[in-house]
């Protein structure tokens, strides 16, 4: 007997599919991309989908959008295994894995209120990044961010 597989969300014509998002992080990815209720684009979100690679994953599909490198860096911090698929005429024309940068500047706020980067000084926050698990260490005050990184995204 043949089991008919149904797509959870329909394919998109032009845009971006972000796959292999850590389960539970899709809404943070939406926030990173800057999608709000008034954006107007077609956005599909699937959460806690079964996955061969990662047990459970989230997926986000956005019509008519491509991501900036800053947005991809932010996604890599909360979902280091995410893949980005660029879609044209329903075809995947490009697919790549996000890559955790070794250093990030100006995309995460230091969670130490006494850090010099949280003052009126003209200095951007900057972190060195270690992988698996993702740990950020502030270049200035040495504080470590290892949990709830999404909360600190600028």
């Amino acid at each position: 007997m043949c089991v008919k597989k149904e797509l959870l969300v329909r394919p998109i014509e032009h845009g971006t599919v972000i796959d292999h998002i850590n389960a539970g992080q899709a809404l943070n990815v939406i926030r990173i991309i800057g999608i709000a209720g008034s954006t107007g684009s077609v956005v599909s979100i699937a959460m806690n989908v079964a996955s061969k690679q990662m047990e459970l994953k989230d997926i986000v599909k956005i019509e008519g959008r491509e991501l900036s490198s800053k947005q991809v860096d932010k996604i890599s911090l909360i979902s280091p295994d995410a893949t980005i698929n660029i879609i044209r005429n329903y075809d995947v024309i490009s697919k790549y894995n996000v890559e955790l940068p070794e250093e990030i500047t100006g995309i995460v706020r230091c969670n130490n209120p006494d850090c010099i980067t949280n003052s009126d000084e003209p200095v951007a926050s900057s972190f060195t990044v270690t992988k698996k698990p993702v740990i950020l260490r502030c270049k200035y005050c040495d504080h470590i961010i290892s949990e709830e990184i999404a909360e600190q995204l600028i």
Binding site: N112, D114, C115, I116, T117, S119, D120, E121, P122, V123, C138, K139, Y140, C141, D142, H143, I144
Partner: protein, 307 residues
Amino acid sequence: MSYSLDHVISMKDFTREMIDEVLELAEKLEPFARGRPCRMLENKLLALLFYEPSTRTRLSFDAAIKRLGGSSINFGMVEASSVSKGETLADTIQVVSEYADAIVLRHPKEGAARMASDYSSVPVINAGDGEGHHPTQTLLDLYTIKRESKLEEIDIALVGDLRYGRTVHSFAYALSLYGVNIYLVSPPQLQMPQHIKSDLVHRGITIRETNNIEDVLGKIDVLYMTRIQKERFAEQSEYLAVAGSYRLGSEMLYSARENLIIMHPLPRVNEIDASVDATSHARYFKQSFYGVPTRMAVLVKLLGVKI
């Protein structure tokens, strides 16, 4: 091998070889710290930028540059400077680095010295950034141990607030380069964070923990006392109870090794009773003096003077 230093911001920037070189240089400079005339840093101008009060650090840097024939400038009270008009630290540093040959900075914000080094055209020395680093304190503590005890294969107890005081964390890291045995003595709520303890163990040193200072007094060569701060406790009564049990009196030293030295970064409040001052173990005032040759060595290194 000789190395060059651009700035002195954190002990993490130092290797064991670099520390040894500073300590050896401090020893050579000690006669000048005691007053032998010297013109090694003649015409060198050191800017002392203290955004927070300081006695020992500020005066010992001032003494160090002047004893070596140089001079210093400072902006006095923060209230009387452009800082009170809202000038950023970044701007102040850019201005002052055009006036002076090196800058000593103490600032309430963590990471201030690292940021200052990004904006300065001359070397920056971190003289304390909030709860952050204070590398010349660690260097002078190591120098004190080298001069008054020995730096290798000793047993040392770190006592007091081991949780929040990050200078004690960088001191512990620096000690780990010298293969010492460390006893951590603190009340449960002020214990050294787990990740630092694991780092130290990975570096191959032995750590033992207790909350009773008398457990360790007969087993150590160096007793390093720190201040327990009132603001770390929610209740005044809790603070008083803890502070009382971490007070060292001369009557407690009956079991101490003959060569035990007692150190404290000062100022002390009441962690060490004045009766300890007269014992052969007290070294905290000498430790304060050693701040001068140690800071002389840092200045000589940073200003690239060969001796």
